[in-house]
């Protein structure tokens, strides 16, 4: 699941020059903005069947924390 998740992040945020790492503070990526956030929401819904709200996202810093939230939402 971890690799599937990292692949999803790379694709959703259109990251071309590097591999995202679990400890990355992804909201500091150049690629992160309100438009890429929409793609992320769609991909998380499509591939993992979960939604992550803006409020939940506010408290999340690293990709690991985002993945933890996804797993929690999946129950």
């Amino acid at each position: 699941m971890d690799q599937k998740f990292l692949d999803l992040i790379k694709e959703a945020l259109e990251i071309e020059d590097r591999e995202p790492q679990m400890e990355d503070a992804f909201k500091e990526y150049n690629e992160w903005d309100s438009l890429s956030q929409l793609t992320l929401i769609a991909e998380l819904d499509d591939q993992f069947g979960v939604t992550v709200t803006s409020d939940e996202l506010k408290g999340i810093i690293t990709l690991q924390e985002l993945l933890d939230q996804v797993k929690k939402a999946q129950g």
Partner: protein, 352 residues
């Protein structure tokens, strides 16, 4: 659960009017760099919008659409017993714009007229109200007018909303007639998400004042707006849509005892191409059954569903056409319906 159904009530014809003034989004670069704008346009799919010039109201657009429709169908105005005006951009806070339109259109003083204030869900909501009244009473013909000047609602220095919204107005004539079959409506609301799309000031909770018209930076990206302009949390609106709309579509299909494959056209509120594209994908709908006018008119709130029908489906609904309409947005409020259009007249698009 608000599931309604009616029999032998339907839409005789529809017309739409848009301002002639066309805004090309890629050239709408007064406040933002062309490359940033291009990125937004690529994502939202909104190339052009129509802006009402100063002095033109939603009521002027629906008036033009109504006159066109009444003339095309050679309707005797004496037979119009009900006028409903749908908008969140009315002429005045009072009186209701529908009442002014009764006089302007030269309708009888025995016309029942009132306004209905909802956003992107409003056309379907208003159809259910009009169908209900026509179904139950002695109303010969009903005129449903739906107009918006949403271009004025959002601040041009707030990039989250500055490139999305446009203006337009539509008219639909509805009557009771044995040629129409059954129609089904699902109507919903969730006020707990009222903050997702909101104009804070100008009502009675936060009256307009010197402070509410002040421009200020409203987020960490430096977007500028005022309390008199619309604010939108796009990410959570998207979350709302993917959580609620597919299940509402399932609900209305079940209520109508029909299946996805039997629907000829799915006409959704035109929010933006990304959201609508994902919705169609999630519902596994063939794209040729999902008409769109987002590219040329942007998001026109409640007008977007009928404007899509008038601008995209003219000449493609001969005979009986099974339609599923679904509107969703500010409130949050959402509504879906299934009905057969029976030779519904579509007027040529009017430019004002």
């Amino acid at each position: 659960m608000a599931l309604l159904s009616f029999d032998q009530v339907g839409i005789l014809g529809m017309a739409a009017a848009v301002p002639a003034q066309t805004i090309r989004n890629r050239e709408y670069t007064e406040f933002f760099a062309a490359e940033d704008v291009a990125e937004i346009v690529d994502k939202t799919g909104i190339e052009e919008r129509r802006f009402a010039p100063a002095g033109m109201c939603a009521s002027d657009l629906v008036f033009a659409a109504a006159e066109k429709l009444i003339a095309d169908l050679t309707i005797d105005k004496e037979e119009i017993d009900l006028l409903v005006f749908v908008s969140q951009t009315p002429d005045y806070r009072m009186p209701a714009t529908s009442v002014l339109l009764q006089d302007r259109l030269g309708l009888s003083k025995q016309t029942m007229a009132f306004d209905l204030s909802l956003g992107c869900s409003a056309f379907v909501y208003a159809l259910s109200v009009v169908y209900s009244l026509v179904h139950s009473g002695q109303i010969r013909k009903a005129l449903l007018l739906d107009g918006e000047t949403r271009s004025r609602v959002y601040h041009p220095k707030d990039r989250r909303v500055a490139f999305l919204f446009g203006d337009g107005g539509v008219a639909a004539l509805i009557e009771k007639n044995p040629k129409f079959g059954k129609s089904y409506f699902s109507l919903n609301s969730d006020g707990s998400r009222g903050d997702l799309i909101k104009i804070k000031a100008g009502g009675y909770r936060y009256p307009s004042s010197a402070e509410t018209v002040q421009e200020r930076v409203v987020d960490e990206h430096g977007n500028i707006s005022t309390d008199e302009h619309g604010a939108m949390n796009g990410a959570d609106v998207f979350n709302f849509v993917i959580q609620e709309i597919p299940s509402d579509i399932k609900r209305i299909l079940t209520a109508a005892e029909t299946e996805k494959d039997a629907i000829d056209y799915f006409v959704f509120h035109q929010a933006n191409a990304f959201m609508n594209g994902y919705l169609a994908k999630k519902l596994k709908l063939p794209l040729e059954k999902v008409p769109s006018c987002i590219r040329e008119f942007g998001n026109t709130s409640s007008v977007s569903i009928p404007l899509t029908i008038v601008s995209q489906l003219q000449g493609q609904m001969d005979g009986s056409t099974k339609m599923l309409l679904s509107g969703f947005g500010v409130g949050m409020s959402w509504a879906s319906c299934v009905m057969d259009f029976e030779g519904c007249w579509i007027s040529d698009l009017v430019e004002v």
